[in-house]
Point group: C2
Chain length 180, copies 2
């Protein structure tokens, strides 16, 4: 049962650096040292492993965000900066998978959509903690800054995350002043 996790972790780092469709199973299994036989025993297919990797990825990411505390929105971006510093900036793995498997594996496309909905619920929660009420448009704006910073960091330096953070906090502050 431990090997399964090793394969997921190893495959995740390979997919991260090389993309999904352009990488063969041998390269995907190399980091964990697993044989192809074990791959098909555990996951049924290459795409099955990809799905497992994406599910693990989303769990890791959501966990790592922590819970809202003194600065619910700002800490969202602190978490992103920490994540990118340790994992590297390659763009959002979930969206990358979605775009590579569009028209080839609808289960993966649907999975990513659900994961992004999940993430949006978390952001809405942080907004409520920050301004004391729901504000769907503000939540979406913070989401866009978050996704924008994630994408931009792959072609610019990590300072874009702090810049996104200040934009988000400015929008939150403006929403806090004005009545609903």
């Amino acid at each position: 049962m431990d090997k399964r996790h090793d394969m997921i972790v190893g495959a995740m780092s390979t997919f991260e650096a090389q993309g999904f469709r352009g990488t063969g199973v041998d390269a995907v299994l190399a980091p964990s040292g697993a044989s192809t036989r074990t791959l098909y025993k555990h996951f049924g297919s290459r795409d099955g492993l990809v799905q497992a990797v994406l599910e693990q990825r989303h769990r890791d990411f959501m966990e790592q965000l922590g819970t809202a505390r003194s600065d619910p929105v700002g800490e969202l971006f602190s978490a992103l900066e920490r994540w990118l510093a340790t994992h590297g900036s390659y763009g959002c793995m979930l969206l990358r998978a979605r775009s590579e498997y569009a028209g080839a594996n609808e289960a993966i496309v649907a999975l990513v959509r659900r994961q992004k909905d999940d993430f949006n619920r978390k952001i809405a929660c942080r907004i409520r903690a920050a301004i004391g009420r729901d504000d769907p448009e503000l939540a979406t704006q913070v989401w866009l800054l978050f996704e924008g910073a994630t994408a931009a960091a792959s072609v610019a330096d990590l300072s874009v995350v702090g810049i996104a953070r200040r934009a988000a906090l400015a929008l939150v502050k403006a929403a806090k002043v004005h009545a609903p």
Copy 2:
């Protein structure tokens, strides 16, 4: 010389819908009806065609943005909405190519970085037109909203573009009030 352009246009729509690495040359050439022989005569390799597609894409996109007029920043997002409505929402093709060819074709990675720098210069120009001075941080924030909306539209509906636009205009307005 016309066939070359047909191949680029046809390949672009195939890459857009199916991604880059997961699509064979036959599928890429199908829309233009060109033979593989013509492909290698014009572009030397499959990757050569990919590069030509990306260059054409960037040109099309930058042209379509038009020139700053009454609302330099807001019109950036109007243009994005128009673009996504006609081309479909699959995420930024340039960033998608970058992430698929990372570790496999450094020329493509470098090309996309240059294209994004180019786009950032255009945004900085719009910011100057809007507030009468340079503001690099504000320009980056508008860029992040733009990239965020482009990415988000692939998993949410097109209304995210209007929401990004309002965030951008709010940030610009705040920058216009306060002194540098």
